[in-house]
């Protein structure tokens, strides 16, 4: 894939709303990219998207490639009489970005309508302390309508999202909402695309799973259904910023991060490292002393257990609408996955 293709793919994948528990449109966008390489099935009940690569043969080992399709956002829990929405968070929203944001309100009443709105900021004469980040419970969403008017479009339980479309920065870097983890979804789609038409020694299942941000729930169900023999989890991790600790972050653009953790398969981690070395794919090792905080934690203990490894894409400003990623890192992640599958032997 060319650089332009990667950017365009990211643009398509990040555009739809996919707040935890409401992943339908995002899954649909991903499905339309995967359809040509096999069969897709969206499970509306759980929000998981399943893909089986062409050439699936019963009895062969199954390698499951997983990334989560959901993104952080808000859920409406109250409407005031003067038409402001009160919300709770879906996932660990960065509280530092809550005030005076443009939002889109995904109203589901009747035929459903997307409304524009703004989160209120607290004017200086009311702000007690500029140094305090707002609480999600304090956030008021200005709909520009009265309570009765809003209730014609919005129900409790509807989702609200701060949106920033996918945009290029300098070089191969991009910023968007939802790069966590549509960047991972993109890497999996690109790996599958690269292998199109090739004979492999295993069945390849891709799962783009729901509700990771609220506790890796979709992946738990998906792994039970897929019953993989090995699993690769792709999520985002931390890239360097001026205030970051070198031990905790890697440099942006330094390639795929290969996970090592007591909860992961050391063999898979080592295989990935050897392969990256052999093929000169840029990589770093991401060493974690416990579980990984990703879907891998669920997949690895599904049924009788499944050897799992994480591959991470370095990201800045995680859980904000201003996430930043280097598309080179996505491409290198995809390449490593494709090469791993090419050489797979049970």
């Amino acid at each position: 894939m060319s650089k332009t293709d990667t950017f365009e793919l990211l643009k398509k994948l990040t555009a739809p709303m996919g707040v935890s528990g409401a992943e339908g449109s995002a899954a649909q966008a991903a499905a339309s990219e995967l359809d040509k390489f096999g069969s897709t099935e969206y499970d509306a009940a759980t929000g998981n998207l399943f893909f089986r690569r062409k050439g699936w043969q019963e009895g062969r080992p199954v390698v499951m490639l997983d990334a989560h399709i959901d993104e952080i956002g808000f859920i409406v829990n109250y409407i005031t009489d003067d038409g402001f929405l009160k919300v709770s968070s879906c996932g660990g929203i960065d509280r530092r970005m809550l005030l005076a944001q443009r939002v889109r309100i995904y109203g589901t009443k009747g035929e459903g309508r997307v409304l524009d709105g703004f989160t209120a900021s607290v004017p200086p004469h009311l702000a007690k302390d500029y140094s305090k980040a707002a609480q999600v419970e304090e956030v008021l969403i200005d709909t520009g309508m009265s309570g009765d008017e809003v209730r014609e479009y919005v129900c409790l339980g509807d989702r609200v999202l701060v949106e920033n479309e996918c945009t290029r920065l300098l070089g191969s870097r991009v910023t968007s909402k939802a790069l966590d983890d549509r960047a991972g979804c993109a890497a999996l789609i690109m790996a599958v695309a690269e292998l199109d038409g090739e004979e492999l020694g295993c069945n390849v299942a891709v799962t783009l799973t729901s509700q990771e941000e609220v506790g890796e729930r979709g992946a738990k169900i998906a792994a039970f259904i897929v019953e993989p023999d090995a699993a690769i989890e792709v999520d985002v991790s931390f890239a360097n910023t001026p205030d970051s600790d070198d031990e905790e972050c890697v440099k942006m653009g330094s390639g795929v991060m290969i996970g090592i953790s007591p909860s992961l398969s050391r063999k898979l981690s080592n295989d990935m490292r050897t392969l990256a070395q052999e093929l000169s794919i840029p990589y770093t090792m991401e060493v974690m002393g416990r579980t990984t905080g990703t879907n891998a934690d669920m997949i690895s203990i599904s049924k009788s257990g499944c050897p799992t490894v994480t591959l991470s894409i370095p990201e800045r400003f995680m859980h904000t609408p201003a996430e930043v990623i280097d598309t080179d890192d996505i491409e290198n992640t995809a390449k490593l996955i494709a090469e791993y599958l090419r050489r797979y032997t049970s």
């Binding site: 524009d116 500029y130 008021l140 910023t175 904000t320």
Partner: protein, 339 residues
Amino acid sequence: MMNELEKLCLLDGISGDEGQVRDYIISRIKGKCEYHIDPLGSVIAFKKGRKTPDKKLLISAHMDEVGFIVNYITEDGFLKITPVGGIDPRVVFGRRVRVGEEKLIGVIGAKALHHLDGDERSKAPDFPEMYLDIGAADKAQAQEHIMLGDSAVFVSNFVRFGKGMVGCKAIDDRAGCAIMLDLIDSELEYDTYFTFVVQEEIGLRGSTAAAYTVDPDIAIVLEATTAADIPSASGEKKVCCVGKGPVVSFMDRSTIYDKGLYRLAFDTAEKLGIPCQTKTMVAGGNDAGAIHKSRGGVRACGISLPCRYLHSPSCVISESDFENTVKLVKAMLPKVYEV
């Protein structure tokens, strides 16, 4: 008029870098009035009316908006920024800006959420802790595109939402500029001066010089002012309310306004049958603060649009307030000489 407001709001012009706004305003008033650009960059215009009054009237609005200026580039290629004008640091983190001559897109970040310690999580980052990421791999790459002193401006869309509401950056005070352009387009009863001034947000500086130049007897300042009519504020703390008409102040932190003009505004609104309100707190300030003290003193009136979330990338006003402000100003103009 809404289209005019949209064009004006989407122009980038932080204090001291108002060129884009100035160029647009000149393109709009050329041939319709006399004008010149003063040494600070303000546009001083004079439009002939049917009559020449014995007192000089000045109408003023500011072109500049709040934003940032690049003051340092780190070895890693991040830009450090300083706020220009009074920006609440809590509306800055995680925002998109346009920066420099090339209008590059960048995002304002700070330490990753997951790396914050307990106390830090409830703290809003202050300006020194934030930086701008333009995607540069290092200092050298950043320097190819950015110079120290470059401006950064919030990226914002002009959003019409709800029932007759509008949200965008820079409504403060491109709304005032839009009303002045409309007045210049129309036939005026009396000769009138208009100043589109620079540097309001860093201390009413453009208006200080422009008022000296014009030397008016009477001044009307068109502005946007804080409306805090959100559910978490009550009584006088709301200050003023969106949808309840133009705001005419009796006093703010920079000016005690002329009583006669204050009454004229409310009387005129009543005769027109349009809503009109005042601020229920002595808060804020605007160019009237500089103008009313100019030379031997100027009778000043402040007419503002009630605006929620002022000085953020998301200012919110209502279309009806905007229309009613235009009506009020137009109806008041011929009468100010009698006060």
